[in-house]
């Protein structure tokens, strides 16, 4: 994964979630959060005007595997105490993306000047938590070993639409041998708040993926002859639905620059 800002030295893994957020808030961290405060849950961010928040909430509710909601703010309030006492969604992520009419117009490190009294923030679970659980179980993940982003694909499966939000299910893929794939189904089933069990395994064409060697997002990773590609619903799904909705204004995290919460991973385990 890309290195963090060279100008700062955050202790990888050992740094507390709060330290990471404070570094982002102070402008000392503007890169990826992967590997930082690694015992803690990270989340995807979506900020929308209230006029679209109801439809987006319905979209998440109808598509819980790609869009598992970890938290939703009060209207106009950028705090989210359920995920961390001091969280300010306007400044605590290292980098943001600003979308107007579905077009990416800016990538600031702070969105205080764009926040309004009608804004609502959504934090959506991310796969770091279940990857942490898989690695803890001794299941090797090739993209992690190779320091790459996970491979992600648009599928032929459609989300359940809600208002202006619709589009294909986007999935992440991890190649695993069958016994590890079975164990991974068991482990990730315990984490419905971070995409849960896989949605598919085996032949990619059955879910409309034409070329496993050419992911639409992230980096390609080899699938060995004794492995199956295993596919999980991915948090890029709501990002893609958001872009397709062409709202006048929407704010998201920049890829890899997530909200680091105070929740330990195991807090999300259903069992």
């Amino acid at each position: 994964m890309p290195a963090n800002d060279e100008s700062i030295s955050l202790p990888t893994g050992a740094s507390s979630a709060r330290e990471v957020r404070q570094a982002a808030r102070a402008g000392r961290l503007s890169g990826h959060t992967s590997g930082l405060a690694s015992a803690h849950v990270q989340g995807n961010l979506v900020i929308l005007p209230q006029a679209y928040a109801g439809d987006f909430l319905r979209f998440c509710q109808a598509n819980p595997k790609p869009c598992p909601l970890l938290g939703v703010t009060e209207v106009g309030d950028p705090s989210l105490p359920a995920l961390g006492e001091d969280i300010d969604l306007r400044s605590d992520l290292p980098r943001y993306r600003v979308w107007r009419g579905g077009e990416l117009v800016d990538e600031p490190t702070d969105v205080r000047t764009l926040w309004r009294d009608d804004m609502v923030g959504f934090v959506i679970g991310c796969s770091f938590t279940f990857e942490h659980a898989l690695l803890a179980e001794g299941i090797a993940l090739r993209h992690v070993a190779q320091g790459r982003n996970v491979a992600m694909y648009r599928t032929g499966l459609q989300t359940v639409p809600a208002g202006p939000f619709s589009g294909p299910l986007v999935v992440s893929m991890r190649p695993l041998r069958a016994a590890d794939a079975i164990r991974a189904v068991q482990i990730t089933s315990r984490f419905p708040a971070v995409h849960g069990a896989p949605v598919h395994l085996g032949d990619p064409a059955l879910i409309g993926i034409r070329d496993i060697g050419r992911p639409e997002y992230g980096d390609a990773v080899e699938v060995m002859p004794d492995e199956l590609p295993v596919f999980w619903a991915c948090g890029v799904t709501p990002q893609a639905a958001l872009a397709a909705a062409r709202l006048p204004l929407a704010i998201t995290h920049a890829p890899g620059a997530m909200l680091v919460t105070d929740l330990p991973h195991h807090r999300l385990a259903a069992l």
Copy 2:
């Protein structure tokens, strides 16, 4: 599955476990138990002289997926009250197999005359319970729909040996589409006492199965292009290990003629 004795009319499914055992005990039932008392757990039977019971117990303990023990009798006592108040293992199964030196020598409907004061009975979980759970979830099983026995294969995977007991893992195979296979991993994981989660899915060659169209036991069943073969550890594994051990005397159930217990299937669910 083969029809039951035509001379009797046991109400399929609705018959109580006790009625099935009493029909077997009275000689009115000598055929298969599949579909009888269908809400109740059925089990594989092994009866051994005490001299071999310790090793067999260790074999089961070391290989819990193919040999999940539901009950073990006291030495010389053919009852098993934990599985049914009135059970008499010498008479309550419709048909038995008697093995001497690893050779099948008889298939009686009763083994009262063979029972001795040093005999120990073992009841091992069978896949009917998890198939019941899969069907209840709406997952179709082709061999059930086609009225065939499930397809079973010797694999290249070896059991952990104990004393004279050793040999290959035998697996049963059910073809499922990927989403059903993932759901089946979740469902069968809840039932460790009846083989639990699959041991493999996908390419049969990876576990040493040369020809999926030629099962060593049971009936072949087609795997459609959009399906994966899903493999579970099978109770034929201990039967094969027992035959290979060539003991002076061993008694088992005849294929398909199981012990019907009083346990409702859900009693075995871990969660």
